[in-house]
């Protein structure tokens, strides 16, 4: 574990060197912000969540033990925090009688997914983000950790506290759901690829 330079930085921080914490912040800021954005779904909430993650990291120095790669440890904090944020948001919406599934499915524009053979990149990106948002939180988190953050199955499983086989199952279900949601665009994308 000591071969991980970020673990060394964290251990240095634990001994009282605040500059080591600032260096860790600098290295992981963008990744954690991007991760939070993909989980909580709004820019403002994502930035707030990312800052909370780093504050939790700061508080964690008293009990920190280098039991895994540092990135796994940090993503574990981030995943737990974002999933808690989502749970609180959904609880509040449910209390107000908002149908969460319908709200997500129609997306910010309020319109149903368009059936077009070829779409502009921005619209396609928007559909992709909406499809990600429709996933259950844990499926989305698993998919984001492996596909976007580059964690291995083992690391991602540790981050969200499941077994590796449970993680593979989450990812499989997430991908299957995404393929169903994005089927028209998958075919269009494949057609465009063959045309090239």
């Amino acid at each position: 574990m000591n071969a991980d330079p970020d673990v060394e930085l964290m251990l240095t921080f634990c001994k009282g060197r605040e500059d080591a914490f600032v260096e860790l912040y600098r290295r992981y800021r963008d990744r954690i912000v991007a991760f939070c954005r993909r989980i909580v779904g709004s820019d403002a909430q994502a930035e707030e969540a990312a800052q909370e993650v780093f504050l939790k990291l700061y508080r964690a120095r008293e009990g920190y033990e280098a039991r895994s790669r540092f990135s796994t440890f940090l993503y574990r904090i981030a995943a737990n925090h974002c999933l808690n944020v989502q749970a609180r948001v959904e609880h509040k919406l449910t209390q107000r009688g908002v149908d969460i599934d319908a709200r997500i499915a129609t997306g910010p524009s309020g319109s149903a997914p368009a059936q077009h053979a070829q779409l502009e990149q921005d619209e396609l990106r928007s559909e992709l983000q909406r499809a990600l948002a429709t996933l259950p939180d844990r499926q989305r988190t698993a998919l984001v950790l492996v596909h976007y953050e580059g964690l291995s199955y083992e690391e991602a499983a540790q981050a969200i506290d499941v077994t590796e086989s449970a993680l593979k199952s989450l990812i499989h279900r997430a991908r299957t759901a995404m393929m169903e949601q994005l089927e028209p665009w998958l075919l269009a994308n494949e057609g465009a690829r063959h045309a090239v």
């Binding site: 800021r29 963008d30 991007a34 993909r38 504050l55 990106r125 976007y148 393929m179 994005l182 494949e190």
Partner: protein
């Protein structure tokens, strides 16, 4: 290779990037699995379209302001911890004081107690009559009390009674 293995093998190849000749051979023979593989590959390309959100302006400034507040909170927590530790010492100190008070030497026994313990009533009268007051234990104790502070511990009323009885 069985179709049921396709999903797992596709996932492994996606993660490792390593080639899988057995999988490739099966995909050439199985249209359903080949379609599944094509959809998975298309999804991977689509997923790349999602660009990461970057922190907006002022993100660092806001964060370091919160970090300063957190540091202040931790410092105050340490001070309060010492404050509460101090208050926790009060009952401990009270307990120690009680123990010390109980351990102090008891007030000298009264003449009556001493006499009752050592002499028969008739003997007391005889001692007093013979002016052998210095033999009385209480007198011996009083003689031993050299410090004024200790003399103050003597019950004045008992002294007066003793003086009256020895006359």
């Amino acid at each position: 290779m069985l179709c049921e293995e396709t999903q797992e093998r596709l996932a492994q190849r996606r993660v490792s990037g390593a080639s899988d000749a057995v999988l490739d051979a099966h995909l050439k023979q199985c249209a359903r699995c080949e379609q599944r593989a094509a959809s998975e590959a298309a999804l991977d390309r689509l997923l790349l379209l999602d660009s990461p959100h970057t922190p907006g302006p002022g993100f660092d400034t806001r964060f370091f302001a919160r970090l300063d507040a957190e540091r202040g909170k931790q410092r105050r927590g340490r001070v309060w911890g010492m404050h509460w530790a101090g208050w926790a010492l009060v009952p401990i100190a009270a307990g120690v004081a009680l123990v010390l008070m109980r351990a102090q030497p008891q007030k000298p026994a009264t003449q009556d107690e001493l006499l009752a313990a050592e002499l028969e009533p008739d003997d007391v009268d005889l001692v007093l009559e013979l002016e052998l007051v210095e033999d009385l234990p209480v007198i011996q104790q009083l003689d031993e009390l050299e410090a004024f502070e200790l003399l103050e511990a003597v019950d004045q009323a008992e002294l007066d009674k003793l003086a009256a009885e020895t006359k």
